[in-house]
Amino acid sequence: MSDKKLKNIFTLDLLNIDESGIVTQISHDSNSTRQRLLEMGLTIGTKVQVIRFAPLGDPIEISLRGYRLSLRKNEAHGILIQKD
């Protein structure tokens, strides 16, 4: 992987509204958390887009596989995204 590509990797909570990217890794320690996120469709290679933040800044609403999912920032922090 080139340096330029690596630099483009963020955790999901750092994306701004309307920014999108591809899931490259789920780095949560807890096995059940990882499984749950994957089951909801956040598998590697899936395209996600940040839609909005809740009125108080947390949780986040994202779009993936044609539907909307909401998750907290600390949960999004364990999801690595390669930004478009």
Binding site: R36, L38, E39, S70
Partner: protein
């Protein structure tokens, strides 16, 4: 011939709408044998006249069983082959507008080799988002029949019935996804060992998948693994972990890879990424400022309506019972029987039944919020606030349902995966003002709070009512915080919720909810409240005292003695012995307070004025002042907000937590809380 089917689907897939479209009003709610989960069943007629039974399973995203609800769905499916409630096929409801994630559950069901029909629902919503699905191609890819439906308008339901009637379900295995090659060998070895241990092929396949994905330490707490099996599986875990293979993810990834193949062939997407209506609505409803305005606005609106329009049909019911009482007095000879029927039964039961409109309206309103998709937004908006108390946005929905009744609220906590959060939510749910408190609130507010308006729009009674609800909510948050810090300490669990597209609430679903609730309420009024009313009439009328006026008679009766007996303990709260009678009788059920007062005041005063008026105008014979002051009324309201007076809630708590510990703690803390807060309010009130 009776045939049995079962229905399953993701949350928000329209499963309930499909269920209602098939079965109409022919439904009954019971329990799964041995477990606590509500089991809903309905009947429908197949085109050839056969009767079919349909069993509803809880909505779930997968069969991995994170929450109690999902565990039930999984258990029922896994055991279906041996269990008594055998069904011939399962209807899997798939949301066409969200097909990829919905097919995940389907792929797990196909693994279990259960005959299956895909109900491809909400095709209209999908079409609007630019998604078209070729059902023949999809059916061929999946290997199971696919029926397109728009359950809300009953489209496709006849076709579905036809398919169920005619389709012959093959017994061969239809599993098509491929396990990742690095796991294939380990998986098939475990699967074969399990088959030697009397599991059938498909259950063994499912279990092998679960056993390979779970963390190694969880093998030790597995319910039925033998020591030898644990050894074998642990070795496989070690080997795969050494190769740095993510066991937990590999199977899920493979399933989604297969789903992608299926969708590439059968689903056409016009990628416009349209900013649809739902999004535009959400811009406002989850807006930093307007989001909250709307949220609190809609709550206030609900209470405003409950206190204005809804009181009109309530008056009709009151008039009806007054009329009935007068007419019956004319027919029956004056005496004890007449008193029993008119004062005891009509006075007591009638007082409670007149609240039916408010309760139906409340369930209608919450039903609209749920069915339109707003409830998920409420969790989204409120999550941050809830997390401050250490709770979860998901706890917000059970709490909101507890405004209707704590029992469905407590049952709704089953969607909370974390056990400690679940118990915390259950512990505070009964503090939310439920519909059984409405009769007490309405009676007291109606009688004692002047009907003035503030700023010309909001009426004082409505404002007081909102404050009562807020008081309950506040107490719930405070005690949620306390429980999370003490008895139920634990990490914050996942907040993962789907935000479904907004839709018009289904009239059929709403009607169903109102119907169900009315029946339950009227049944209670006709059985429990009727019985209590008769017993109370007896206690309040005997022993007979010669030549006593009605007030003296009541005071000397059994009920009067009970009231007098507890009077010293409730006097610090500003309550007299008559309220005492009400407090005692309503320990089992809150609304009994109103029927109690109805009976007592009817025995004392047989004029035709309303119960509220009788209470307001009553004069205490010792002091010569009105027995009830506004302060007494407010104290009574505060007491009813906070006290735990509901036998059914205690029973449900016992069932859901599997023991008496939590219900006992709950009953004690709420009773003490109610006593002390009421005491404080009374003391402060006296000073002012």
């Amino acid at each position: 011939m009776l045939r049995t089917f079962s229905i399953i689907g993701n949350p928000n897939s329209g499963k309930t709408t499909v269920f209602n479209a098939l079965t109409g009003l022919k439904q009954k709610v019971g329990n799964y044998p041995g477990v606590t989960v509500e089991k809903k069943e309905g009947k429908f007629i197949l085109p050839n006249g056969d009767v079919a039974n349909l069993v509803d399973l809880p909505g779930t995203y997968s069969l991995t069983a994170f929450s109690p609800d999902e565990k039930i769905a999984t258990d029922v499916l896994l055991n279906h082959i041996n269990s008594s409630s055998k069904f011939e096929a399962i209807l899997c409801v798939v949301d066409a507008s969200n097909i990829e994630r919905n097919l995940f559950l389907l792929s797990q069901i196909i693994d279990l080799n259960i005959p299956c029909v895909v109900v491809l629902n909400m095709v209209d919503v999908a079409l609007k988002s630019g998604i078209t699905i070729d059902e023949d191609k999809l059916s061929k890819q999946l290997g199971v029949p696919v029926v397109k439906t728009i359950a809300q308008s009953k489209l496709g339901i006849d076709k579905l019935k036809e398919t169920l009637q005619n389709h012959i379900f093959p017994s061969k295995n239809l599993r098509k996804w491929k396990i990742d090659s690095v796991l294939q060998k380990e998986h098939s070895e475990i699967s074969q060992i399990l088959q030697k241990n009397n599991l059938d092929e498909s259950s063994a396949f499912h279990e092998a998948t679960q056993l390979l994905s779970m963390p190694t330490e969880e093998l030790l707490i597995h319910p039925w693994l033998t020591v030898d099996l644990i050894k074998i599986i642990r070795k496989k875990h070690e080997k795969l972990d050494f190769l740095e293979i993510d066991r937990g993810s590999a199977f899920i990834n493979s399933r989604y890879d297969w789903i992608k193949l299926v969708c590439d062939i059968s689903v056409k997407k016009k990628f416009t990424e349209i900013k649809n209506l739902s999004d535009k609505v959400d811009r406002i409803l989850t807006h930093k400022f307007f989001g909250f305005i709307f949220f609190f606005g809609i709550m206030t609106f609900m209470f405003q309506i409950m206190f204005s329009w809804v009181t009109i049909p309530m008056n009709w019911i009151n008039l009806f019972f007054n009329f009935l009482g007068t007419e019956i007095s004319k027919i029956l000879p004056s005496g004890q029987i007449e008193s029993l029927v008119v004062d005891g039964i009509i006075g007591g039961v009638g007082a409670v039944i007149s609240f039916l409109p408010q309760i139906v309206f409340l369930f209608l309103f919450l039903g609209i919020l749920e069915d339109s998709g707003y409830m998920a937004r409420a969790a989204f908006i409120m999550d941050k606030v809830m997390s401050k108390v250490g709770l979860h946005g998901k706890s917000f929905i059970p709490l909101l349902s507890s405004f209707a009744c704590a029992i469905p609220g407590i049952m709704a906590t089953r969607t909370i995966e974390n056990e400690k959060d679940r118990i915390t939510t259950m512990m505070i749910a009964p503090l939310m003002s439920c519909s059984a408190r409405i009769p007490v609130y309405t009676l007291m507010i109606g009688a004692f709070i002047p009907n003035n308006s503030i700023f010309g729009i909001i009426s004082l009674p409505a404002l007081i009512l909102v404050s009562l609800y807020m008081l309950g909510l506040l107490a719930a948050l405070v005690f949620g915080f306390i429980f999370k810090k003490t008895l139920l300490k634990g990490a914050t669990p996942l907040f993962l919720i789907e935000l479904p597209q907004y839709k018009m609430p289904s009239l059929r679903t709403l009607f169903q909810i109102m119907w169900e609730r009315s029946i339950i309420f009227l049944k209670r009024a006709g059985t429990f409240i009727l019985a209590v009313s008769i017993v109370l009439w007896f206690l309040a009328s005997y022993p007979k005292i010669e030549n006593a006026n009605p007030s003296e008679q009541l005071e000397k009766s059994f009920a009067g003695k009970i009231g007098k007996f507890i009077e010293p303990s409730i006097a610090p709260l500003g309550f007299d012995w008559k309220i005492g009678i009400g407090l005692v009788t309503s320990i089992l059920q809150r609304e009994v307070f109103v029927s109690t007062m109805g009976t007592i005041y009817n025995i004392e005063d047989d004029s035709n004025s309303s119960l509220g008026e009788k209470m307001r105008t009553e004069i205490n014979q010792q002091t010569g002042k009105p027995s009830f002051s506004i302060l007494t009324a407010i104290c009574l309201l505060v007491y009813y907000v906070l006290a735990m007076q509901c036998l059914s809630t205690i029973a449900v708590m016992k069932r859901e937590t599997n023991g008496w510990k939590w219900p006992a703690i709950q009953f004690s803390y709420m009773t003490l809380l109610a006593y002390f807060v009421t005491f404080l309010v009374y003391r402060i009130g006296v000073l002012i």
